[in-house]
Symmetry: C2
Subunit: 103 residues, 2 copies
């Protein structure tokens, strides 16, 4: 009990692949920007695209990646589809990264 057991035990290979895949999702500036954009309020696809000054298609493709990795929540309202960050977990991961970048 003299040492905190943090990331010490090597998880199964499969878990490590999943872990890398998860971080891969955070490793793209477009997706990071999308995540920040919808971290306060949910937003429609077009609004995100306008907000970031990028093509609707680009945003849609990247939202799919975020969806597949369960990082966003989706809600349809009429023609619009609203996206928001899935949970605080996601924010925490980003914060940890920010801490490292800003230090």
């Amino acid at each position: 009990m003299e040492e905190k057991n943090t990331a010490n035990e090597m998880p199964d290979l499969e878990v490590l692949f999943e872990l890398a895949d998860l971080f891969k999702v955070f490793g793209d500036s477009t997706r990071i920007r999308i995540m920040f954009t919808i971290s306060d309020n949910e937003m429609s696809v077009l609004n995100i695209a306008e907000s970031l000054n990028m093509e609707q298609s680009t945003i849609s493709h990247q939202l799919r990646v975020l969806r597949q990795n369960k990082l966003v929540r989706v809600r349809r309202d009429g023609k619009q589809i609203y996206y928001s960050l899935d949970d605080d977990h996601v924010k925490k991961i980003i914060e940890m990264g920010l801490d490292h970048v800003l230090e």
Copy 2:
């Protein structure tokens, strides 16, 4: 004071790029495995390569990426060069990711 201000404010574009670049480093299974391998004790390049059953060159290339991103510490002792994780920050980022993957 009714809402916790977490990742709400959108940082500068440049910071977002750095952030994505940081996560990109975590987004490769070889690098993740290296980080786990050296999270307990420092290890020489060859030892890491043997431990992961990969080429010395592959490991060396990836260690360079980790070095450039200040995620590892380096110590030379004779012919060997020993690598270890830079700080607890790195472990925390990995842990956050693991939490998400394992949940």
